[in-house]
């Protein structure tokens, strides 16, 4: 891996300063031009672009290593199994989890939360119990809990947010009580960019006797994550939002929970032995991975964290913070632009509205400048309701974006205003 980024003259152990032009060359898609212009990709909260190393790793898997895993005695199956399980170890280390048993592969963060709700939730949550989420959650951290509450006669409670888009921690303290069994909070809001104080939330949840679930879909791609230091019971994230393949996600669970929970799905690979009278489930983490998994996705995600480690998540976070500051400043200078989400601790998400211009029209006209943003409710309709808007325009950043691209965004927004003046 080091050879991808480190010229042969330099020792691999020396990490060089972050160089955005160098990392941009790792992403082939950034060379694509549309209407004669380079694409300014600012829709990273929806999905991220993939580095060449990941694309080539997946290609190598299919051209040199493809076989089913965990069952073959032949050479290719051994190679595929080794690479699959090595990827699990790499991902565990990347997220600060125990290697091996604590990392379960899912289709994405959404499936991760559904798995928790359908296994832990159905076994341990009962009538009158409470599940605490926040007003800024993505639909994927609302609906699975609503479904569980409906089934179990338990109650979903919601921590309000401030006008800046920060969690109201006083209200959180009041809502947390002895009936609270699960606290499930997004680490970073996809609609507002708010970075929530997860450590304090987890500690408070534990003190109240609840377990804590962290939705890391928007944090794992942009900042160092150490699950054990955080102390949560469950953590979920999505491969495609962290520069990896689509269709693959990670669920971290504490062993004590994963041991006690029933399996999510039944099938091959999740069992040790099957007779018509009795089935013995496999050991962790295989108990939660029924059927042939997304082998290509797992191996691709392993290559992704390899790539990210090589750059360093600290360097990525620092660069994106600078970029976010620059973008915030540019947007704040535009008259008639309202930033939605102005938390003190914020990730690279710039959600906004423009006086007199509907977000869909903003997005459509920016596309003309080659600028790709997301418009709509961002699968967070309660956030839109909270701020009294039907939708927002959202530019979301990644470490391969540049200040010049944000200048293009700001100039594009000013042109939109002229068209609608």
């Amino acid at each position: 891996m080091a050879t991808v980024h480190t010229p042969s003259m330099e020792p691999a152990t020396v990490r060089r300063a972050f160089d955005v032009e160098r990392v941009r060359r790792d992403f082939p898609i950034l060379e694509v031009r549309h209407g004669g212009r380079p694409i300014v990709y600012l829709d990273n909260a929806a999905t991220t672009q993939k580095p060449r190393h990941v694309i080539e790793t997946i290609q190598r898997y299919y051209t040199r290593e493809n076989a089913n895993i965990h069952r073959g005695v032949h050479y290719l199956s051994q190679v595929a199994t080794d690479h699959y399980e090595r990827a699990r170890e790499q991902i565990a280390r990347f997220l600060g989890a125990t290697v091996g048993c604590e990392i379960v592969f899912t289709r994405g963060a959404t499936e991760g939360i559904n798995l928790i709700a359908q296994t832990y939730g159905r076994k341990f949550i009962g009538p009158g119990d409470e599940i605490l989420i926040s007003h800024m959650e993505h639909h994927s951290n609302i609906v699975p809990w609503q479904m569980l509450c409906e089934e179990k006669g338990s109650k979903l409670r919601v921590v309000p947010i401030t006008d800046d888009g920060e969690l109201d921690m006083d209200a959180f303290g009041r809502l947390l009580n002895a009936r609270t069994k699960i606290v499930s909070i997004g680490h970073v809001s996809n609609a507002l960019g708010t970075v929530n104080p997860v450590r304090a939330i987890i500690d408070a949840a534990h003190a109240a006797g609840a377990i804590a679930v962290v939705d890391g879909a928007q944090s794992a791609p942009h900042m160092p994550v150490n699950i054990h230091a955080m102390g949560c019971d469950f953590f979920v994230c999505s491969g495609h939002k962290m520069y990896g393949p689509t269709g693959i996600g990670v669920l971290y669970g504490k062993v004590e929970h994963l041991e006690k929970m029933p399996p999510y799905q039944g099938g091959g690979d999740m069992v040790l032995s099957v007779t018509f009278e009795k089935t013995t489930f496999n050991i962790l983490p295989h108990k939660y991975e029924a059927g042939t998994p997304h082998i290509e996705g797992v191996i691709g995600l392993g290559a992704t964290v390899d790539y990210l480690n090589d750059i360093g998540m600290d360097a990525i976070a620092e660069y994106e913070q600078n970029l976010t500051r620059h973008g915030t400043q540019l947007l704040e200078e535009i008259p008639g632009l309202r930033l939605i989400g102005t938390a003190r601790d914020k990730a690279g998400i710039l959600s906004f509205t423009l006086d007199g211009v509907h977000p869909h029209d903003i997005g459509q006209l920016l596309d003309e400048d080659g600028v790709a943003i997301r418009v709509g409710h961002h699968c967070a309709q309660p956030v839109m309701q909270r701020f009294g808007v039907p939708a927002t325009a959202r530019a979301s950043l990644a470490f391969y974006n540049t200040k010049e691209e944000l200048d293009t965004l700001a100039a594009g927004i000013r042109r939109v205003q002229k068209v609608f003046a």
Binding site: D361, Q364, H377, P390
Partner: protein, 150 residues
């Protein structure tokens, strides 16, 4: 002009800025709301009927420039039209925005509605252009439930 700039014809921008007939008709004979749950755009169409003739039309609601100008232009051409003529206009407009981008335009038959031909390049915006029209059609057919694009 090409691309999105062609979508936002001057006529569309004008109707977006100064929408016509945006009023409530308190004693409307028909009243129905069109709603696009994907983007939250919603327009209510109020109709006043004199026999089978549309004697007045009012629009209320909010949405993107395409949805709003389409509602406005629709309202501006319907006054004095019969219910059957209005239904025929719906069919003509709907057929046009859902046709292939390079299909010939019958500009004489479409009149002002031809400014929305740019929508054909952007299938995701067809629902914006037709939102108020769907509400109108439901009102003409005597329905009284909200209509949804989904």
């Amino acid at each position: 002009m090409s691309g999105s700039r062609a979508l936002y014809e001057q006529v569309i921008l004008d109707h977006n800025k100064n929408p016509r007939n945006f009023k409530v008709i308190e004693d409307a004979d028909r009243k129905i709301e069109g709603f696009n749950p994907l983007c939250g755009d919603h327009f209510t169409v109020f109709l006043k009927l004199d026999g089978t003739t549309i004697s007045d039309i009012g629009i209320q609601g909010a949405g993107c420039a395409i949805a709003k100008s389409s509602a406005s232009i629709m309202s501006s051409i319907l006054k004095g039209k019969s219910v059957d003529e209005a239904k025929e206009l719906f069919d003509r407009f709907h057929a046009m925005v859902t046709s292939a981008p390079d299909a010939p335009l019958d500009e004489a038959a479409l009149g002002k509605l031809a400014v929305f031909s740019g929508v054909r390049e952007y299938p995701i915006r067809i629902k914006c252009a037709t939102l108020a029209w769907h509400a109108l059609l439901a009102a003409l057919q005597g329905e009284n439930q909200q209509v949804s694009t989904e």
